[in-house]
């Protein structure tokens, strides 16, 4: 079955620094990926997505990079702010036609003021 995992369970960064959160996936057929942010007691909040035919996509202060060769996904957050403190999950769509997402275990980002 699909497997999405994260390299680091926790990440602490100084306010204003850039953050990089990594994710490895095992299903080479996965065709779509999403990064979600989850704050305590809340549901996952959509941040940014990327299709498998792209290798980079930028949003507001966030960039997602996809390296299909090594099955690696990263989320870069520029000028990290205290409000960015949360757990970040990557999720993948399997590419079999099913729309359900498979989530990684999450990385807790802590921003130090």
């Amino acid at each position: 079955g699909e497997s999405v995992g994260l390299h680091l369970p926790t990440l602490s960064v100084q306010e204003g620094d850039n953050s990089i959160i990594n994710c490895a996936y095992s299903n080479s057929a996965s065709d779509y990926f999403i990064w979600y942010k989850q704050e305590s007691g809340k549901g996952p909040q959509f941040i940014i997505d990327i299709r498998s035919n792209m290798d980079k996509r930028q949003g507001q202060r966030v960039t997602v990079l996809l390296n299909k060769t090594v099955k690696h996904l990263s989320l870069q957050i520029a000028a990290t702010q205290p409000g960015d403190s949360a757990v970040y999950f990557c999720a993948e769509r399997s590419g079999t036609g099913a729309n359900n997402l498979f989530f990684g275990t999450g990385t807790r980002l802590t921003v130090i003021p």
């Binding site: 549901g43 996952p44 959509f46 299709r51 099913a98 729309n99 997402l101 989530f103």
Partner: protein, 116 residues
Amino acid sequence: EPEVTQTPSHQVTQMGQEVILRCVPISNHLYFYWYRQILGQKVEFLVSFYNNEISEKSEIFDDQFSVERPDGSNFTLKIRSTKLEDSAMYFCASGGEQRLSSYEQYFGPGTRLTVT
């Protein structure tokens, strides 16, 4: 901004009882999902629903679970006879028309189910 809503926010029930978790997806969305998250663990897919029928379900979604879209706005998850291990946060999600290979899913705030 439209959002997915869920009720109740917290449900406490005794083992063996039936529970119904309710969701109102984003109004023009066509795809509906239930996921769950056991405390401290990752989010797990349960079931997806499209065109008034289940399109995919996971191994977790056994005969004790059912989903329904009783009207044009609500989407429900029923657990017939709850077990202790059903205690988790249950998230509803919805997604719109799939265009340009975009399969965004927007999540509700969740219902915390506690089975005692």
